[in-house]
Amino acid sequence: MKPALGVRIGSLELRNPVLVASGIIGYGAEYERLVDLGAIGGIVTKTVTRHARAGNPPPRVVETASGMLNSIGIENPGLEGFLEIKVPVLRDLPCAVIVSVEGEDVPEFRELVEGVSGSGVAHAIEVNISCPNVGPHGMRYSTDADMAREVMTAIRPLTSLPLIAKLTPNVTRIADIAVACEACGADAVSLVNTFVGMAVDSVTRKPILGTVLGGLSGPAIKPLALAKVWEVVQAVDIPVVGMGGITHPRDAIEFILAGSTAVQVGTALFANPALPEDCVAALETYLARAGLPSVGDLIGALDVPAGRGTIRAGRSVGGTS
């Protein structure tokens, strides 16, 4: 018998736990010919902001050792542009669509959640309170538990869609933020967003990125991301969506073992558009070989030495089989 791959995040049932992260796949159509969307759990769209954003000055990307620094600056058409141009395209995608939103303040978050919720295309909303590339506001909401609470409390009553709070790792204790989001009605938390980083050109004596600082992603951050996931899964009961440097299908399985109910593939998709579907296939094979009937049996199945931590997240939901 084939293992069951379905997982649940709030009321959202995913056919499998492999998603593509925000900022990677645009609004799906860009990668339609390269990624088999019918084979994966879903996609998270490029973040939509209240007003259109032109993004940051170039250069916006640079490859670093086993990683990539980016400072895109959430270039997007804004809520109206999203509703007009992107929604019709998203409607036809053969997978779950999680729309990522980010407001500059609480009223903007409200308008975004209402707008996206009303569009009818979103299966869930990822609340991006963690982008490092949008000036003083963005990341602030997930570096301070009180501010995260303020946003989540304001938007929770506005939608029945699952709300996934996306967290930054650039904090002292990420678990505090996750707990705050859970307490204010988040259905899940996703982590990690990128780590703040910087690259310098010794020849030109200039910072390489146009904004000096950017966000680091790619395999370089996987151990850091796993540690943050590990911290959070011990602190909350809601599902955790894990990501950060997944480059090989094995990496996805590691995040699930560490307590992630679902995973997101990011930067490595640029090099290997088949990675998400490869992750699904590898997960199925892994479960079959282990004789496990469902992915729920693998979530948080990490064999931890006694007294070194207990996974809580996602235990109550598990698989949908």
Binding site: E63, M68, H248, A271
Partner: protein, 266 residues
């Protein structure tokens, strides 16, 4: 545009640090236009992490076998890894991508190449020759041995320039362009410019074109992550910004040179 497997037919160092790569591609790789590019996995290993965008130097189709040619210089980690790929190595690429050159039917194309920027212009010149269209090819490089592919340029009028004076005019290809424009009596209605090379040169060519009202297309270069318009990592700054950065991978790499804000393009 497709993701296709490819294999190295030849990866030859033509002059120190400059390579000509020939990749066999399957039929799923659609016929490219000069100026379009491919997003190439430069190694079967995970590192370097990202693909690298390369303009095509040529495309051939013989006996049902399709091949893409790339002329590249070793400048960083990606090209260094690519230079070690042996004959027979299997890689993959996404392509053809982006917008290529669009010569107008009735104008004389003046091709202005700087250094390894000659690659897409060689491709263009071959297409022009196939269509029996006359053209002018102006090619500048640091020295004579970097004048790659000059013997390939047939069916057009060729003028060379080198920084060291070893071959052709001793100086910039920009001077060749100015001379050509005056001496041959071109007008914006009878001729147009296609250029590729260091951005400093493209900036100068764009200013000359703008000052004379000449249509001018330039092929740009820059880092890209996705190369399909999703990540927005390759913005092109415009002179009249309009709150918009076109993605080089989608709206380029060939763009109207006179609208680009060259001072803000790295």
């Amino acid at each position: 545009m497709n993701l296709v497997a490819c294999s190295v037919v030849e990866n030859r160092e033509i002059t120190p640090g400059n390579f000509l790569l020939t990749l066999k591609v399957p039929r799923a790789f659609t016929r490219p236009s000069p100026g379009q590019f491919v997003h190439l996995r430069v190694s079967p290993e995970v590192e370097p992490l990202l693909r690298r965008p390369y303009s095509m130097e040529g495309f051939s189709e013989r006996g049902g076998i399709r091949a893409v040619r790339i002329y590249y210089s070793v400048v960083g980690r990606g090209s260094k890894a690519l230079a070690t790929q042996p004959k027979g190595q299997r890689l993959d690429l996404i392509g053809p991508l982006g917008v290529g050159f669009a010569p107008a039917p009735r104008r004389v194309p003046i091709l202005v190449a700087g250094g390894r920027g000659v690659a897409p212009l060689l491709f263009l010149s071959r297409r022009l020759r196939e269509k029996k269209r006359p053209y002018v090819f102006l090619f500048g490089a640091r020295s004579g041995r970097e004048l790659y592919g000059v013997r390939e340029i047939r069916g057009g009028r060729l003028h060379l320039a080198t920084d060291d004076g070893s071959v052709g005019y001793h100086g910039s290809v920009l001077t060749l362009l100015k001379r050509e424009w005056e001496a041959a009596g071109h007008t914006p209605l009878t001729a147009e410019i296609f250029t590729c090379g260091p951005h400093g040169l493209l900036h100068e060519v764009a200013e000359f074109a703008a000052a004379h009202g000449i249509r001018c297309e330039a092929s740009l270069e820059g880092p890209m992550a996705c190369a399909v318009g999703a990540c927005r990592g390759c913005p092109v700054p415009l002179r009249a910004n309009g709150g918009r950065y076109p993605a080089m991978c989608l709206e380029g790499p060939v763009m109207d040179a006179t609208i680009v804000d060259w001072g803000r393009l790295p």
